[in-house]
Subunit: 316 residues, 2 copies
């Protein structure tokens, strides 16, 4: 198998022997794998892979075909089309994962596009519903609405019956988000809180000073779910408002979770998001697709923050 | 009836006509009522009473005897011994509350002592269990362990099967907390995080810089429940740790809740705390009892922060 390898802050390719799946493991012939900001951070040495996953091969999600199964695998067989989140190893022609971390790819979904689904949609659904408790009729604010997770969150929230408010730095991204069903778009600024009516849930992919806006625009018992820290990790928290509004602030990340929790998130995704994707009600917004051999260009593209939606690496 | 009244930042007494209970209302002959920091804040003009409660009579809890009932009251009758939290009005010889906000006072409990129960024990149980999700076997850190809520939280957490860690500014308060069952006592300092092993839940009555300690000592998926802000309302939040540990930070206050939520908290208190008080397994720690006519001295005493446990005003 051919794998993208992180070596001292740089990317190179390596030919490795194909591993054999054991017990509940599955060998997947990777068709495609999304690129995520965590991959960039890992390349820069700031985000090591969790134990039990390849320490030097990036790639936190995949879509592909089952090529071989371990003795304990019950529900999958060779040739099945699957996708899912992994702790690493996605940016390669083959990877080893576990049966419980795989979900079936809906029939109508292109396999290259499918590789951009899991991280964005599992993260968005988990943050909105499992962590944020979003209910029909509520209002949700999504910061970074043009990102992979942002474009997924807008669609999932709208299809759940919520009203969506989104922020982005550019008008162009807000217009594209409106095509996905975003109800209210706001250009990100220091004064954006003035333009946002009260919300029940915030999905914050930006962090930094945005936290002050989050606290201000939440209504009583609001939930602020911190998913990313593009604008920085430190912020001043106004605890008096947190207390008087009885707010909840929660940090979330998929990668750090043990596999059994990743499996739980995959089941919730299958129940509540997969039908939306299968019917075509929700779709992955594909920014650009790069071939595995052009992975360097893909990583460079992501760093610019100019993309809209998912950057995908075609591995097959 | 005789009522303590807040008038331009000062306390005075006023004779008022006794109100008549209507619908689900109950007139209570107040035996005693705890004094709380919120009363001090209200006196200083920083914490107005919620709508529907006396705007100028402090007192957020009471114990007393039902003196009259409205036509819609089903479960209480004249002469019943009750206690509960109220939105205000406790520091008077009589008050009007609602049936659903009253809980029965256990037979063995002295009525003067009983007035110090509701705010501390409802707040502690709600913060530990309902908001914090504390489970048997978990570790809980309680900042401000010598306060009314702190002394209640130590006992409730221990009786739930949790291991209790408490902080206080003085060794004397830690020794007294140990008598209540506190397992590990730590003198509050800037470096206290170094002395505290990982915890699952933090009950923070202090706020300010303590938040940094809370974030540091929480284990993965820990819950930080902010109940008070004695040390200030602003703090720098390390969101990277919040995210990587998947922490939850939640502000809570009883007073701002609508009556139906106060009633919910009262039912949870009846189910899980009242039996502990009835058996004598948990007890109110009484700091000082003042007569209603000496309310000024009681308020001055609370401001010193030198007390240990509840300051109670005897109204009957």
């Amino acid at each position: 198998m051919r794998a993208l390898v992180i070596d001292d802050g740089k990317l190179r390719f390596e030919e490795r022997s194909t591993p054999t799946p054991e017990a509940d493991q599955v060998l997947v012939e990777v068709a495609s794998a999304g690129l995520n900001r965590a991959d960039i951070m890992q390349m820069r040495g700031m985000y090591p892979a969790p134990p039990g996953w390849p320490p030097d091969v990036p790639g936190l999600e995949f879509a592909g075909t089952v090529a071989a199964i371990g003795n304990g695998v019950k529900s999958l067989r060779e040739g099945d089309r699957v996708f899912g989140i992994v702790g690493g190893g996605g940016h390669a022609t083959q990877l080893i994962t576990k049966e419980d971390l795989c979900s079936p790819v809906p029939g109508g979904l292109d396999m290259v596009v499918a590789g951009g689904v899991p991280e964005a949609f599992v993260t968005a659904h988990d943050a909105l519903v499992t962590q944020g408790g979003l209910r029909p009729g509520q209002r949700v604010l999504i910061h970074g609405v043009g990102s992979g997770v942002g474009t997924a969150a807008v669609q999932v929230a709208r299809l759940l019956g919520a009203t969506t408010v989104g922020t982005s730095r550019t008008e162009a991204k807000l217009l594209r988000a409106a095509e996905l069903g975003l109800h209210e778009g706001v250009i990100a600024s220091e004064t954006m809180a003035d333009e946002i009516d009260e919300v029940d849930v915030v999905i914050d992919l930006i962090g930094g000073d945005y936290l002050a806006t989050d606290v201000r625009v939440c209504r009583s018992r609001g939930r602020i779910i911190i998913v990313g820290l593009l604008a920085g990790a430190n912020a001043t928290l106004d605890m008096r408002t947190v207390l008087s509004k009885r707010l909840t602030i929660r940090g979330t990340t998929l990668r750090a979770r043990p596999d059994y929790e990743k499996a739980l998130a995959a089941r919730a995704f299958e129940r509540e998001v997969l039908p939306l994707l299968a019917r075509g009600d929700a779709r992955v917004v594909v920014d650009k697709v790069f071939m595995l051999d052009d992975a360097n260009a893909a990583y460079e593209h992501m760093v610019t923050n100019e993309g809209y939606g998912k950057t995908i690496i075609e591995c097959g």
